[in-house]
């Protein structure tokens, strides 16, 4: 969930003018990678 929140935080920060477009894309990519890693483990354990 934190990864998904990170994914959403990136464009929100960009929208508020706190993050550049390139930084937004990078942060979104990193948070997405986090989601896939953690969510895959979690689903496997379910």
């Amino acid at each position: 969930m934190a990864s998904l929140a990170g994914c959403l935080a990136a464009p929100v920060l960009h929208f508020l003018g706190k993050l550049s477009s390139d930084a937004t894309k990078l942060l979104f990519l990193a948070a997405s990678a986090g989601w896939f890693v953690f969510a895959t483990f979690w689903f496997r354990r379910k």
Binding site: L4, L8, P11, F15, T24, K25, F28, L29, S32, F43
Partner: protein
């Protein structure tokens, strides 16, 4: 029943044998499960295209919001009041219930029609994914009036992606479905994040004070793109309503709702409709406006979220195509004696990959979705009539099962006749299914009454 037909019917029955019996009470599911299921199912690659097309069809902002609010509500009500009550009472899939009503012969035709329609939809999703990959190789996206592929590179791209999707489906549909569950929430976030990320580019202020002005003048400005029909409130409302016509009015989602504890669980479809068919469509509309209204989902995703956006589009295309390929393969298994699952999936994948080369299914996706629902709608009307109206009119139900009919000929006649009339109706394609539904309903009842006499 004649030899080959009996053989096909018997194979078809064996395929669906696992859910022949009505769902037992211990297998019923909670509401939360349905909320999750519908939420995951209705955020797909199609949303990238549909929302963008509303912009290109010159929908105004007000018409879009009102149309999506009301149209999706009608869809939710259709699931709740038409599909769910029948599903909860019978606890059967449409396959087995239709077989009792229409006979195995007509059920085979229905299955095959569904398989072809699924293949075309999967092909369109491969084309959508191709726009993502094509960015890297500077392969031009088809124009809005394209029917045939314009370049060999487009053909190669779609065939390669189709082959990849097919290979993944062969290697492990079940395992990959688990991975699709991981993708689902993230894909929804891709839409929301993508829409948010490009709002500053369109001039929306951080306090959202001018959002509506930008929405009216730069996104849904009421000006259709060259060669596109202008859409208004009614087109948007009806599209949102019939987008899943085959599932609700067509009763295909009996397969899901038969596990519901009560018919009111149909209301949980709102968890799919509003995030998927409203919010995601709004976000893709915002994204297409940000790239100068160019219908290029790959470019839309890349400009909004970079590589992750492109990956999101690819995964959205794959998660939509994967189960579609599987279902098409299931349906084709009925006419391929003794073929192993991998071979059938390969056949479905090959057909789908060829179809994906033709951009018409992607650039005319809205019309295709309309036709998809229209083709299968009469079957929903026939089942509805038999379930609810026949007992009240004292007409024998399930004659096909009781009398051993291979074909319920009145049902087949009503199906073909309704589609013929719908084809000839002098009204917009999006509006034809509704009078067609009442025509199918009434003509089936009248034919059955005359049989009773």
């Amino acid at each position: 029943m004649a030899g080959p037909l009996a053989s096909i019917a018997s194979r078809m029955d064996r395929l669906y044998e696992f859910d022949r019996e009505p769902v037992s009470p211990d297998k019923l599911q909670s509401g939360a499960r349905f909320a999750g299921l519908f939420a995951g199912e209705h955020v797909a690659a199609t949303e990238f295209v549909i929302g963008a097309f509303f912009v290109l069809h010159g929908v105004t902002a007000k018409d879009l919001f009102v149309g999506l609010l009301s149209g999706n509500l009608l869809a939710v009500f259709s699931w709740t009041f038409i599909c769910a009550p029948i599903a909860v009472r019978t606890r059967l899939t449409l396959y087995w219930y239709l077989r009792k009503i229409a006979g195995p012969g007509l059920t085979i035709i229905y299955n095959l029609a569904n398989a072809i329609l699924y293949c075309i939809l999967a092909g369109a999703m491969i084309a959508v994914s191709a726009t993502a990959v094509g960015l890297a190789f500077r392969i031009k996206t088809p124009s809005l009036d394209a029917v045939f592929p314009a370049s060999i590179t487009w053909v190669l791209l779609t065939v390669v992606i189709g082959a990849l999707f097919t290979t993944l489906a062969i290697l492990g549909f079940e395992k990959l479905s688990r991975f699709a569950e991981v993708c689902s929430p993230w894909i929804f976030i891709v839409f929301v994040a993508g829409g948010l990320a490009v709002l500053p580019r369109l001039g929306v202020r951080a306090d959202l004070g001018n959002f509506w002005e930008i929405a009216r003048t730069k996104i849904w400005n009421g000006i259709p793109a060259a060669g596109q029909d202008k859409f208004g409130l009614w087109q948007v409302m009806f599209f949102a309503w019939f987008c899943n016509l085959a599932m609700h009015v067509g009763l295909s989602d009996m397969a899901i709702l038969r596990y519901a504890r009560k018919w009111t669980y149909g209301l949980y479809t709102a968890f799919g409709m509003y995030p998927g068919h409203m919010l995601a469509w709004i976000c893709s509309g915002i994204m297409v406006a940000a790239v100068g209204r160019e219908m290029n989902p790959g470019l839309m995703a890349y400009e909004a979220l970079g590589l992750a956006g492109v990956a999101g589009l690819l995964l959205a295309g794959w998660t939509t195509a994967n189960p579609t390929l599987y279902r098409a393969g299931l349906a084709l298994q009925t006419i391929t004696p003794g073929w192993p699952r991998w071979k059938v999936t390969l056949a479905a994948g090959a057909i789908t990959s060829v179809l994906s080369c033709f951009p018409v299914f992607f650039v005319k996706l809205l019309d295709y979705v309309a036709i998809y629902g229209l083709v299968l709608m009469p079957i929903g009307a026939i089942v509805f009539a038999e379930h609810w109206l026949f007992p009240r009119l004292k007409i024998e139900q399930y004659s096909a099962e009781k009398r051993g009919w291979t074909f319920n000929w009145p049902a087949l006649g009503v199906w073909a006749g309704t589609l013929t009339v719908c084809f000839l109706m002098p009204i917009h394609l999006y509006f034809r299914w509704l009078p067609g539904y009442f025509l199918a309903l009434s003509s089936y009842v009248i034919l059955s009454l005359s049989r009773k006499k």
